[in-house]
């Protein structure tokens, strides 16, 4: 690995930190806009063309706000967790092949899929810690809900996320993405559909936005956060959604590779990548728009009664199907 300027540029600017930050802000705007249109509203429309700068303006405003740490809060944890969870989500996106290679400008390593999933589980745990350290009843309930929800849904998520690796024959994200001549969403829909549902739960979107159900427990684990810390908490939520979309794109939509590619592939990689991310967000938001929020006992029951067995079954089906799947893909090559 060579530590020259371009390496740092890649990490800090493109396709690393700054690019992903702005992608997250853009996705936040996109999410709000299409959600608003689905609900017959305008959505953000004042800041910048079509309100595209609204999320940026929101964060700048939050950074100027007073930053309060409650007297009873567990101070070190309370201060650290917003930054840590944000960094962890950001770091986990670094391992995805955004422009053909990952941010560290290599093809990744065998098993980085599992590493990324582990990072995200850790990030969820920091969200739990952030609620727990606030020592506020609402935060406490929100934190407990996060643990209940994520412990349950991490298991089917891992099982389902590994199923594409079976067909690709590799646990490397770059390889899974590059071997998809036919997107796995079409090749193994019985994995894709449950995966999207579980992802909805992982991203705390309706009907699974239970840890921060505002009419029940105010802002859940984020209730006590204000100013900069709140900015980082909500930024990490944005990055989390981008992460969910990127994971789906990489595992089921063929990553940055697209059917139309001429000239410099790097430009096309980015275009296809962003387009696919937006498609995934549209799917996520659509489900959110047509559902009411479930209750924690509903989703725990749904998880252990349905999602976990379905995940295992579709994994087993994929194991049996993978030789056929691979030869099917050869046909399209």
């Amino acid at each position: 690995m060579n530590f020259d300027t371009s390496f740092f540029l890649r990490i800090l600017v493109f396709p690393g930190f700054l690019f992903l930050l702005f992608l997250a802000l853009f996705c936040d705007w996109f999410e709000r806009k299409i959600m608003a249109r689905m609900q017959n509203r305008m959505g953000p429309s004042y800041t910048g063309p079509l309100g595209i700068l609204q999320p940026l303006a929101d964060y700048i405003k939050l950074l100027t706000k007073e930053d309060i740490t409650p007297a009873h809060a567990e101070r070190p944890l309370f201060v650290l967790t917003p930054i840590v969870s944000f960094s962890l989500f950001m770091l986990s996106i670094f391992y995805f092949p955004i422009d053909g290679a990952n941010v560290f400008s290599n093809g990744g390593f065998e098993g980085d899929l599992l590493f990324v999933l582990a990072l995200v589980t850790f990030a969820h745990f920091t969200l739990f810690l952030s609620g727990w350290s606030s020592s506020n009843p609402y935060s406490g309930i929100g934190a407990v809900r996060i643990l209940t929800q994520f412990i349950g849904y991490d298991i089917p998520l891992m099982i389902l996320a590994v199923a594409p690796a079976l067909i690709a024959g590799s646990l490397s994200l770059a390889k899974i993405a590059s071997t998809q001549i036919v997107p796995y969403a079409l090749l193994i829909p019985w994995v894709f559909v449950p995966f999207m549902l579980v992802l909805q739960a992982e991203l705390e979107e309706d009907p699974f936005d239970i840890p921060n159900a505002e009419t029940e427990i105010v802002a859940g684990y984020g209730t006590e956060f204000s100013g900069r810390k709140f900015a980082f908490i909500s930024l990490s939520k944005d990055v989390q959604i981008v992460f969910g979309a990127v994971l789906t794109v990489c595992l089921f939509f063929g990553g940055p590779y697209g059917p139309i590619m001429f000239g410099s592939p790097n430009i096309w990689f980015i275009i296809w990548f962003i387009l696919k991310v937006l498609v995934v967000i549209v799917i996520l938001e659509f489900v959110e728009a047509v559902c009411a929020r479930l209750r924690i006992d509903h989703i725990v029951r749904a998880n252990w009664r349905f999602m976990a067995p379905i995940a295992v079954l579709s994994f087993a089906l994929t194991v049996l199907y993978s030789p056929l799947g691979r030869s099917l893909m050869e046909v399209f090559r």
């Binding site: 609900q39 009843p137 309930i141 239970i210 159900a213 009419t215 029940e216 009411a292 924690i296 006992d297």
Partner: protein, 559 residues
Amino acid sequence: MAPEEEIINLIRSELQGNALEYNAPRPRRVSVHVRPGAHREAILTLLQSLEFTMISTITGIDLEEAVELNYHFWCGKAEVTIRTRVPKPALEIETITDIVLGAALYEREVFDLLGVKFLGHPDLERLILPESWPKGQYPLRKDWTPNLSDKFRSLRKKPVRARTTQNKTNGGSVVNVVLGPQHPALHEPERFLFKLDGEVVVDVEPRLGYAHRGIEKAAEQLMFFQDVHLVGRVCGICNVAHTTCFCQAVESVGDIEVPPRARYLRTIVHELNRIHSHLLLLGITGLEVGFESLFQYLWRDREIVLDLMEKLTGNRVMAEFNTIGGVRRDLPVSLANETKKGMSTLKDRMNFYGKVFNDDPTFGLRTKEIGILKLPEASKLSVVGPVARASGVEVDVRKHDPYAAYDEIPFDEIIYKEGDSWARLMVRLDEVAESIDIITYAVDNLPSGPYRVRVPRRMPEGEALSRIEAPRGELVHYVKSNGTAYPERVKIRSPTLANIISFRQMIRGCYIADIPAVLVSLDPCFSCTDRMAFIDVNSGQRWVWSMNDIKAKSRLEEP
């Protein structure tokens, strides 16, 4: 024999000499004056002989040498007022909470504002005034004026902390969580102390009184025609209901005949107001259960009603349409057609929402079989309106005690038997459809003629009780006139005060996530409920609606 006469004969035969005076001044209104101490006997007679008896409220009136208590009961066919006088200075009377569970709060209200002691009441504490309120100050007494600012300056200086009952923890797993006075699920300030075991609600302690404005006392300082606008401010959402009810009471006192056109116009605006209120509530339900799209859609369609309201009355929400003797504006033909068009659009939309409420699986999971209030509990707690009708109690005032033009307009009373949150929402959804039909019928059959009569400012001596079906349930206004332009007493009993007591019954054993969904299915309106006290309350003032009170009400569930 007319039902009024039947009731009079019944009480006369039971009470013999203890009943001093009877009269039935108007159809479906009976009042019986009994000797002090005989009120219990009279009420027992009502409870035992008439199968459907629920308490409406208790009105206390300060007469120089005594306090007059009026116990208002709805007996299925007529509103019976049992009147008795409690002599000063002792001011003591036996309680009726042991025979009428629903009277607990009303007795405390009278105790708080007039200083009448109810002997044997399980928990005779302040209900409305803050705990730091000076002893011996009773705002609704005639010799009390609000110009006692010196006495109350101290109130503002030392806020009294809310009394929190100590945790009776079972092994420390019960957590107190305060919901409100400011909380995203509450659209008006109110405080609920929930005792939670994990995600399950063990108990709840509601506290009223964050929106007190002292409207009853203020009403005595204003003339009748001014009071119409004051009572409209009791509650912004159902302002038409309040003004209609008040105007009807005053018209009964003054024997004023309202022209038929005005009665129909009142009905139209009243029903528009009901649609607006119900759609608002159904939308908020969507918000509370995390179904934001439903909320946005319902509120968009509510604009149809608000636009019609604005064109008809001049205001989107505060209609200021009713006045004593009729209404203030006429309905032109062009607007009548527009109203019909708007109603048919809304009807289509309601069919769509009916499908959503019936079929959406996530919505069903959040509302069906949750917050259950069964028929026997509902009738014992004297709940009113959609809450009662969702439990199968037939209490639609429009049907059983018709006012305005409801005796001439065909419509159905919506009854559901389930008693869960879903049924309470469905009652409202179906009522919107019913209201659309009522409006269309009323517009089609609008009688010609004047829409108001001019009335004098002075009203003759007398009293009247007016009941109407507000969007949230039975609303009671009692007006007493002393022959001047100023009322002697205005008493308002809003539907939420009757309904909020059932919340504890509904919520125990539910999950945290059910709290907003169940609470909203009651359609609580705290500004209605809190209208009675008189004080410039700052945020430090708090008072308690204690457990015992609710226990007295919930006694029926213990074996």
